[in-house]
Symmetry: C2
Subunit: 555 residues, 2 copies
C-alpha cells in the first residue's frame, strides 16, 4: 500500500471555501492560510445548535508504541458518516513537532483516512503551537527580568513554578540551570523545559470560553511565591494583555478537510499522558454549531484522554457525548494478552482472548462515566478474519456494539458499518449525561484516590513529600475545587509502563504536583512520566526529506 | 499625532491580490495568509529583470536608542516614488518579537509610512521566525540526542559549537547548563541561547539562492568537533532534509502593503549588530523582478548594516545598488555632537554642527564602497527649520544630495522631494559597481583589519586568546575565503557603546568567533556585544494590550 504522504499527495483538495460551504460556515468569516486551511472565528459558536448536535468521543484501549489508530478511526468515521449522508465534522487536536520528528510520527490520521494538507498540519500549520511557545517563554523571560530588575529593591522569589517550553523532544532541556556567567546574565536559577503540548498556555487555550476568559486565565497563572510568601501571578507583572496579544489568532479554530473533502476542525494539542489531552472546547463547539454529528478524540488510552475529557473538558464546558467509541486492534489486544511484542502482528487467538481483559476494563470505565460504548475494531493489513470474529463475538457477549473500521485501506466506504452502528446507537440508546468521577468539593487527595481506584483499578494513591508540600500550597491558595489532571504513562493502567493487560495490587505514586491556576487544574505527576520526551536512537527526522520541493517521510 | 497602531487601524487595506496586480505578480502564485498577506514563490525571480531594476539602499548615521527611522524613510521613499508615478517595491526585514516586547518596539515603519497589517507583521506574521527557531533547536536536540545515543559506542564531542535560539529577549538564557539531573536527562553540557535573528539558520535563509542551495548550506553547518578532532556537521546526522522541510515555506518571501497600498516584500530578519542585518537575497531579487525601483534597508548604522550589505550580501548575490541613502536626524547629530541625551530634542545648532563629523564619516565610507550617496533628513515634530537648513547647507558643501523626508507625518507627499532626488541621481550619476573592503583571498585577520580601519576608523584589531584559537580552526577547515561578519554595538563606530561622534585612537577587540559553515561567514564578536539581548526594567510588554479584540501599544 502507498505511504500516507503519497496518498495525501494524490488527493484532490477542494478550496477551503467549498469545504466551509458544505456545512454553511459563512465564507466571509474565513481567515485563509493558503488555499486549503483557514481560521474560523469562535464568535460563530451558537450554544443552541451545540445542544442539538451529537458529539461522539473516540478513545482506545491501552495503546502499543505504534498507537491504536484513534485518529484514523475518527477521520474514518467522519468519512463513513458522510458516505451514508450524515452532516458531520471531525474535531481533532493539532500535531506536535516533537513526536513528528521523533518516534511516533505525525498525527493527522493514516492511509485513506487522513486530514489534509497533512504536511502543513503536521508541520507549522497555522502557527498555534508556535504562539503558545512564544507566549509561555515570553512569560518566563518577563518573570526572570522582573526578578533581575527589582532585586535591589528587595524583591525576590522564594520559589519559581514557571518553566519554559519548546515543541521539540529535547531531553537535555529537562533540567537546566540558567543565568550563569556574568552578573548581567540575570539571576542564577534552576529551570527546565517541557514540551509545548504540556504548557499551561496550551491547556488554557483549549479550555477558554472566549477572549475575556483567556485574559482572566492568563492573569491568574501562578508563577511562584515571593520571599514574603505571597503568590506571584502574571497579572502582578502587568503583562497579561501582551500575552493575550500573542495568542489572539491562536484562539481561533482551524478548518481543513479530510481525504474525502469533508470538513475537519483541528485546534489545540495537549498530550493526554502529560496534560489533559483534548482539543479545544471552542473547536468542539464550533463543529457542533455546524454539524449534526461531531467526532472528536481524546489522547492515548481511555484511562488518560477519556477520563480527562469527562472530568475536565465536559465539566468545564457542559458537553455531553452521545456515544463513546473504544478503538481496539489485534496487536494491542495481543500485547495485553501477554504475547511478546515481536509476535503481535502474527495470529495468536489465545493471546488475543487474554487481551480482552484490557478492553473490558476500559468498557466498564466508560460505562461508569454514563457512556453508551461501542467497540471499533481498527483493521490492519496483517489481521485475519477469524480473530476479528472473536472480537465481535466477545463484544456481543458483553452487550456492546461492535464494528470494523477499514477506512485506512478503503476510506469512507470502509467505515460504513461503523457509521451505521453509530447513528443507530445514538438514535436508540444514547449516553446519559456525564457522570463525573468526583465532585468539585472533593479535596485533591480524594479526587486522585477516586480516579486511580475507579479508572486505573489501583489500590490507592501515595503522595511523595514534594507532592504533599504542594498539596498544602493548594489548600492555602483555596483552589481545591479544581479538577485533577493526572500525568501518567500511556502504556499501562498503572504508572509502570510495562504492566500490560489489567494490573492489580498497585498504588499510584504521585511524584510531583504542578499547579495550573490559569487552566484551573491540578496536574499530578505519577510515577516516572516526563513532561519533556526524548528522541529515539534513530529519530523520524532521519527519514523526513525534501526532494525537489516534495516532502517525503512524513506519516 | 495619532499612534502608529491608530494610523494602521484607520488605513483601508486592499486585498493582497490587488497589490500583486499593481506590479504584475501573478495572482495564481500567491499563497495567502489572511486577506492582506501572502507568500510569493521565489521561483518567479527573473535575473534579467533583476539586472534592469534600480536598487536603492537605505542606511543611517550611528543611531540613538530610539533609532534614526530608516524603516520609516524606506517606506516613505516607496510612497514618494509611487506618488511621482514610479513603479517600486520596498523590500524590508521581518521584525523580531524580542525588541517588539522589549525596548525598541516593532519594526514596520511609523506614522503614515508603515507596512501593513503592522500588528500581524510585528507579531507572528507568516511564521518564518518560528520556523527558523524550530529548525535551529531541532538541530540542537538531534545533536544532543546523537551524543547521548552513541556515547556507549565511543562517540563523543570534544567541543560543541551549536547553541539554541529563542525569539525573545531573555538574558537568563545566555549561558545555561543542560542535561542535569538523572542520567536519562541527557549529557550534562554548557550551552546558551541567542536571539533568533542571530541564528545561523536565519543567515542561511537570507543568503540562499534556492531550495538546493538551502539544502547544501544546512548540510554544511558545523556543529562541533568530535573527540578524534573531526568536524561534525548536520549532514553527519543525516537530518538535513528534515531541517529543510521545516524551512520550506519560510524560504518564500512575503508580500504585504504600505499605508498607501503600494507593494512591500518583507522577508528574513537578522539584526545588524549581532548578525549580517539584511533582508533575504530572494526577497530583494523578487522585488527587483517586478519593479523599476526597489528600496531596501540594512540594519542600524552604516558601519554595521551597510558594510555587511556590501561585503556579504552584494558579494554573495552580485547585487549593485544604484544609490545609497544615508538617513540622519537632528537628534542623532546632536548626540554625536556631544549634546546630553536629555537635551537632543531641543534646538542646539552648535551641537548639531559638531555631529556632522559622524555623518561625514559615514558618507565617506559609503563612497569608498563605490556608492553615490544622498543624505535624507528624517523630520521629527520637534525639529526646527533653521537646523534642517544647516544640514542642507552642509551636504551641499560636501557635494552630496540632500532631501527632507516628512512621510512620517504626511505619507507619500511628504517624501516627494526625496523621491525626485533619488530618481534624478540614479539617472544622472548612479553608483559604481560595489567596491568591496577586502577580497575573498585575504585571510580573516586581514579582512577584519581592513573593515575596522576603513569603516570604523580604528587603529587595528586585537584577537583574544579564544578568538585566536578559533582563527586556527578556521585555517584548518580551509574556510578563510568566507567574508567576516562583525558583531558590534550599534551605538558607536568603536566597540564602546558610549563613544559617540567619530572616536579615534582605538583598537577593536575580537572577543570570540562563531564559525558559520552553512551561512558561509565568520562571525567576529567585538567588545561586549551580546547575541541575546535582555529586557529593560519597564518592557514594552507592559504597554501592549488586547482590548475587546483590538491590539493596543504596538509601535
Amino acid at each position: 500500500m502507498k505511504s500516507d504522504i503519497e496518498i495525501a499527495r494524490e488527493c484532490r483538495l477542494k478550496p477551503i471555501e467549498d469545504i466551509a460551504r458544505q456545512v454553511q460556515i459563512p465564507v466571509d468569516e474565513l481567515e485563509h492560510y493558503g488555499k486549503y486551511i483557514s481560521k474560523v472565528p469562535e464568535s460563530l459558536i451558537d450554544e443552541k445548535k451545540v445542544e442539538n448536535s451529537n458529539l461522539i468521543l473516540v478513545t482506545a484501549i491501552t495503546p502499543t508504541k505504534a498507537g491504536i489508530g484513534k485518529t484514523t478511526v475518527s477521520v474514518g468515521l467522519a468519512l463513513g458518516l458522510s458516505y451514508i449522508g450524515k452532516k458531520n465534522i471531525v474535531a481533532l487536536r493539532e500535531p506536535s513537532l516533537g513526536p513528528c520528528f521523533g518516534l511516533k510520527g505525525g498525527a493527522a490520521g493514516g492511509g485513506y483516512a487522513q486530514i489534509l494538507p497533512m504536511d502543513k498540519i503536521n508541520l507549522h500549520f497555522t502557527g498555534d503551537f508556535h504562539a503558545v511557545t512564544s507566549a509561555h517563554n515570553m512569560i518566563a523571560a518577563l518573570l526572570d527580568n522582573y526578578i533581575y530588575q527589582h532585586r535591589d529593591e528587595g524583591f525576590a522569589m522564594k520559589e519559581i513554578l514557571w518553566k519554559r517550553v519548546l515543541d521539540i523532544n529535547d531531553r537535555n532541556l529537562r533540567y537546566v540551570v540558567t543565568g550563569l556567567g556574568a552578573k548581567t546574565n540575570g539571576v542564577t536559577m534552576e529551570s527546565g523545559f517541557d514540551i509545548t503540548p504540556a504548557s499551561e498556555i496550551m491547556a488554557i487555550l483549549c479550555l477558554s470560553k472566549d477572549e475575556h476568559d483567556l485574559r482572566r486565565r492568563i492573569e491568574n497563572i501562578l508563577l511562584g511565591t515571593t520571599i514574603e510568601g505571597k503568590p506571584f501571578r502574571v497579572k502582578d507583572m502587568g503583562v497579561a494583555g501582551a500575552i493575550c496579544v500573542l495568542l489572539k489568532d491562536a484562539l481561533h479554530p482551524n478548518l481543513v478537510q479530510t481525504t474525502e473533502n469533508t470538513p475537519a476542525i483541528v485546534h489545540g494539542g495537549p498530550f493526554a499522558n502529560i496534560a489533559h489531552g483534548c482539543n479545544s472546547i471552542l473547536a468542539t463547539k464550533l463543529a457542533m454549531t455546524y454539524a449534526d454529528y461531531v467526532v472528536t478524540e481524546a489522547g492515548f488510552g481511555a484511562d488518560l484522554g477519556a477520563e480527562k475529557f469527562f472530568n475536565i473538558k465536559c465539566r468545564e464546558s457542559g458537553l455531553n457525548p452521545k456515544l463513546t467509541i473504544l478503538v481496539a486492534t489485534t496487536q494491542g489486544l495481543k500485547m495485553h494478552g501477554g504475547v511478546a511484542l515481536e509476535d503481535i502482528k502474527k495470529p495468536h487467538s489465545e493471546g488475543l482472548k487474554k487481551g480482552f481483559e484490557n478492553l473490558d476494563k476500559h468498557i466498564r470505565n466508560m460505562q461508569a462515566f454514563g457512556q453508551t460504548v461501542v467497540v471499533c475494531f481498527n483493521r490492519y493489513a496483517t489481521d485475519v478474519d477469524s480473530e476479528i470474529e472473536l472480537c465481535r463475538e466477545h463484544c456481543e457477549n458483553m452487550g456492546v456494539g461492535f464494528a470494523v473500521n477499514n477506512a485506512f485501506s478503503e476510506g469512507g466506504k470502509g467505515a460504513v458499518e461503523l457509521a451505521e452502528l453509530v447513528v443507530d446507537t445514538i438514535a436508540n440508546r444514547p449516553s446519559r449525561p456525564v457522570v463525573f468521577s468526583y465532585t468539585d468539593r472533593d479535596n485533591i487527595e480524594t479526587k486522585a484516590e477516586k480516579v486511580v481506584r475507579q479508572v486505573y483499578g489501583a489500590d490507592g494513591v501515595v503522595f511523595s513529600t514534594a507532592a504533599r508540600k504542594m498539596l498544602e500550597r493548594v489548600r492555602q491558595l483555596g483552589i481545591e475545587d479544581y479538577p485533577v489532571c493526572i500525568a501518567k504513562t500511556q502504556y499501562s493502567f498503572s504508572a509502570d509502563a510495562h504492566a500490560y493487560g489489567v494490573p492489580h495490587g498497585f498504588k499510584v505514586q504521585i511524584r510531583d504536583i504542578v499547579v495550573n491556576c490559569g487552566a484551573e487544574m491540578i496536574v499530578l505527576i505519577a510515577g516516572d512520566i516526563l513532561r519533556m520526551p526524548g528522541l529515539p536512537k534513530s529519530p523520524q527526522a532521519e527519514r523526513i526529506d525534501l526532494i525537489d520541493g516534495r516532502i517525503e517521510g512524513l506519516s
